[in-house]
Symmetry: C2
Subunit: 184 residues, 2 copies
Amino acid sequence: MKKYNHTTYAILGILTTECRSGYAIKQLIDQSLNHFWKISYGQIYPTLKLLVEEDLATVTTLSPELKPGKNEYHLTSKGKEVLKKWLEEPIEQVPVERNEILLKLFFGRHQSKEKTVFQLEEYKQKLESRYATYASIEHFITSNKAKGEDTKYWLFTLDYGKRVTEAAIDWCIFTLEQLEKEEE
Amino acid sequence: MKKYNHTTYAILGILTTECRSGYAIKQLIDQSLNHFWKISYGQIYPTLKLLVEEDLATVTTLSPELKPGKNEYHLTSKGKEVLKKWLEEPIEQVPVERNEILLKLFFGRHQSKEKTVFQLEEYKQKLESRYATYASIEHFITSNKAKGEDTKYWLFTLDYGKRVTEAAIDWCIFTLEQLEKEEE
DNA sequence: GCCCTCATGTAATATGTTACATGATTTG
DNA sequence: CAAATCATGTAACATATTACATGAGGGC
């Protein structure tokens, strides 16, 4: 079976939800996959075109009288097949997350302690606001009960985000302590 | 001051260590920055060329009699300046780590529970082996005491890797429990 | 009328990986 | 002397972001 890139599979997956247009896909990504995936319009529209060419989806351009210029995409059975096959494939490797703060810290001895501390504090704040975002999304999902079958899985991914973010915050606190301890 | 990309700053930073050639830079990245950064030769050599063009580094091609074809790079004062300025700049944003396992889990309802469980178990194993790698590097560094000033910062980045990986492992365990609980 | 959101799309650019080509030096 | 490692480099390709262009429709 032909191989596609991750972006293609992501869009294939999103087309199993109620999202049917490029715009709606972008919305979903920015709102729900935001903490572990992002795609720009510059990828979405060409990919949708590819899906149709490859017979993985069909496009319905709505009649100009109704909603001009609006496209609706639906998975074909081949598209669903390709998605399922991809879901089964094992993960090649745990990704190397490029982390700018760690890169800077790695070269930390070329900077004053005060500036390093300032960087870490700022980073910690960003992590905290991210954590708060996850918690509020989680709350929003759990309060709107009886949503679809999908929500269970969506909560799993949110839980991941919360746990990993919390660990990063703890690391910030610990590292800041270590740095300040040396002042004495 | 002119802007460069992250890769350029990473190489600029590495040139403050004893690494003086493209090959040595690649070695250091694969051994020590591995858990939060990676660069291929296809980026390293063109970037080194750029550094020289921009007057951020000098290159010394060793005489053919001694070590033919070997290049030694050294930062210029301008290069050191650019590095320092970058270290001070605040982090734009916490990176969105693209996580394939979360992407697949997000669409988990289109797959049997058994297959999802299998995926997670495999992922957990990879995380565990990664954790072990971090721990052994950490042990290696701490046992070779009295290394440079850099080691303190290197240990901070390793600690980050350990903490975040541990949180991810805990998440795997918890999620697996949740999935199996529903069987009843 | 103006601004905002909805909606689609492309072109230029930036970034990064992979595969390949080449050859010296070291080690068993 | 063969294999592994050291060492540099490029070209083709893959991926992704940004900026731009365009226009409909709704609310103030």
